[in-house]
Amino acid sequence: MAQEPLLRCSGMDKSFAGVPALRDVHMSVAAGEVRALIGQNGAGKSTLIKVLTGVYRRDAGQVEFAGNPVDFTSTQDAQRNGLATIYQEVNLVPYRSVAENICIGRARRRFGLIDWKAVNAEARERLAALDVHVDVTRPLVEYPIATQQMTAIARALSFDAKLVIMDEPTSSLAEREVATLLDVIRRLRDEGVAIVFVSHRLDELYAVCDTITVLRDGRTVADSPISELSRYDLVSTMLGRELTESERRGQHVGATATAAAPTVLEARDLRRAPVLNGSSVTLRRGEVVGLAGLLGSGRSETARALFGADPVTDGEIHRDGEPVRFASPQEAIRARIGFNSEDRKGEGIIPDLSVRENITLALLPRLLRRGIVDRGRQQEIVDRFIRRLDIKLAGPDQKISELSGGNQQKVLLARWLCTDPEVLILDEPTRGIDVGAKQEIQNLVRELADDGLSVLLISSELEELITDCDRVVVLRDGATVAELEGEDISEKSMLHAMAEGTAATGSRQPSGSREEDEVHD
């Protein structure tokens, strides 16, 4: 990559309300180069992309594109100049046709009117170049995500994009679809297009990227050819510390203690096509069970089904050995189950209500006396949990939306803990919150389990699962494919199960692995 970079940025700063999101970030990409951009949630990847493409204005820094200093004022501006972005969620118009989604804004015309024939032909051609052959006149919404993504890429290329930024494009794709996408990326690279590729799947990065930029806490912490950075180094740079053998939860509580404990919640072969295809999980008293799997593997869907938030078409749920079927969350709550959604904003906080009301929302039915809230008890409970969880706030009457992410999450945990649950399902409880709060929440989960609470923990961070869980159930394509316990819980074993789906229940080690763990139970 001796040539002059196509895009070069340096000294990039960006703050939100005084909180820095980017600090002196630099990155460059040359034509025909595929650069990996990686970092944990909140490391600043999305902010960097948005600053580069004109969604946000940077506070400081220089951006050069194709040799000229640029300052894009909008995505439109960036797009016109050859910088296109494929966003995490497919950002197209669902009810419009595939062709229109590719061509809108610059459709071919005849006599001043859009020439649909030409537009459709062009769209067909552009998709064919990506080896996608579909009826382009159908609404986009009728196609699977992979096709929608290809549509987005075709649209980007139709603007003669010189640089395409792909923000986690593979997160909701099936394996085969990923392979197609990687092929497309290679093809684009060979045609001289520069690509910035954001993904959390290391295999993909190593399969397709030439160079890598690693962000951590808003700074560039690594910038090198990807071949010079081993996976181990990559992960440790990204996490910001030497990857030691994570201490295992199994060492805190004797695995035997929970193994003998009674089963409190069990899901058998839950099904609801296409997201759930036979997911099973058992949870014993005082146990922390992890649910691992890639995005779209059915983790959240399993949790929601257990909680009665979504229906299932088949399968059984047992609570303390009794078959149950929760028609709604409040029935699950009555059975002393709590569920904290991964979508804190969308399904967690009630933004306009105070911390007090947010904490006691799930407990509300039990706080009522003839329909009226028992203020004294409410206050006592709220105070207790604010202290217990060390929630930082001005007072219980403060609106929850004014708290930081970590404190909001603690309020939501308090919402469930104050109902005195026996089972708590936590979906990505530490996503997007600061390191301190994350540690606190992890410690709390441990303490609670030691006190006999059963926790089902969903996390995308393998390390968190290794650290916190007694057992890990791995899902793939909506079905349980592996169950790991104790020493067998390792990144390798989980990754293998997620990717291959082979490690059947009981069989513990991936084939050809160096990890020859001894059987310990």
């Binding site: 909180v19 959604s341 399904e347 009630i350 933004p351 009301e357 006691t360 930082k392 706030l393 930081s404």
Partner: protein
């Protein structure tokens, strides 16, 4: 202890908030009230006999009361991110049912019950469309807005239905402790709602449902039922106001009872600083908004400003309220 908590690095928003934006925050919260006070002060000085019981109670408040009561119901529906366009038609139906019942020789108490029951049924209809079928509130309530007046007209045969019934007229013309019935009803309804919002479980679930339906459902709130109750309450209050209006004139005019009241009610809620996006309600603010808008009109007209210009001022006040809300975001 509070100080150390706010000083914590994780809650910058808590400490940052008030400075610089305080006046718009104040204006948003108390703008309508401030304008009301201003109007009262102005009238106290320049309008003869304004501060008399007669003027305040029998003119200003009594005129504002019907819209205020409807607006309170509307505020409930808006709190769950809905809207109720059908209130005017429901008023007409309930008024007609009430009038026909007493004309049929039945006791006024039964007339009131029957009218309220029919109104509540209208609310069930609206609520069912919204909750069960997921129809957008505007369209769901537009159906009854269109059909409802036709139903009232069919009941009346399009004619003015006059009646003489002291019991039913009491709702419009009676007094309790010297306070005109419409005003009394407004006060009672507002007090009950204020209590409900502030102290009851329903109040909590109402705001939770409107603020974030998905989150409320996951926290075990029966969001559908909460929404349904809001629509029923709105329709029942509209029905009550329908009875008040026919009580005042001793006649039910299906063509005109409640005409355009939905917009007045929404305006009253809007000037109280409540966004249409749900999750918030201000009971006192809604009453203040309704009274203020009425007094604003009356004052301008009394000052010789043409009625039509007064209407323009109302429109401008709404836009200003919107701007203040926007700033507060």
């Amino acid at each position: 202890m509070t100080e150390t908590a706010t000083a914590g690095p994780t809650s910058p928003a808590a400490t940052r908030r008030p400075t610089g934006r305080s006046w718009t925050g104040f204006a948003r919260q108390y703008g309508a009230a401030a304008l009301l006070v201003l109007l009262l002060a102005y009238n106290a000085v320049f309008t003869r006999n304004f501060l008399s019981w007669q003027t305040l109670m029998d003119v200003q408040l009594r005129q504002a009361a019907p819209v205020a009561i409807v607006a309170l119901g509307m505020a409930l529906v808006i709190a769950v991110a809905g809207i109720d366009l059908s209130v005017g038609s429901v008023m007409a139906i309930a008024g007609q049912v009430g009038a026909l019942t007493v004309l049929g020789g039945l006791p006024p108490a039964l007339a009131v019950l029957l009218a309220l029951a029919v109104a509540a049924a209208c609310g069930v209809f609206n609520g069912t469309l919204v909750v069960r079928y997921g129809v957008q509130p505007i369209i769901a309530t537009l159906i009854l807005f269109i059909a409802g007046r036709g139903i009232a007209q069919l009941l009346s045969g399009g004619k003015l239905t006059g009646f003489r019934n002291p019991g039913l007229q009491f709702l419009g013309l009676g007094r309790i402790a010297g306070v005109p019935m419409p005003v009394m009803l407004m006060i009672v309804v507002a007090a009950v709602l204020w209590f409900v919002v502030r102290y009851t479980g329903y109040g909590r679930t109402l705001l939770a449902t409107g603020g974030n339906t998905a989150a409320a459902r996951l926290a075990g709130v029966r969001t559908g039922r909460v929404t349904m109750v809001a629509y029923i309450a709105s329709a029942a209050l509209a029905g009550l106001v329908g009875l008040v209006v026919i009580g005042i004139t001793a006649a039910s005019d299906a063509n005109n009872v409640g005409l355009g009241v939905e917009l007045d009610a929404i305006a009253a809620v809007a000037v109280s600083g409540t966004p249409l996006t749900g999750g918030r309600i201000s009971v006192v603010g809604t009453v203040v908004g309704a009274v203020m808008l009425r007094l604003l009109q009356n004052t301008l007209i009394a000052q010789g400003v043409p009625r039509e210009i007064a209407q323009i001022v109302t429109g401008v006040v709404i836009v200003v309220a919107l701007f203040l809300q926007r700033r507060a975001r």
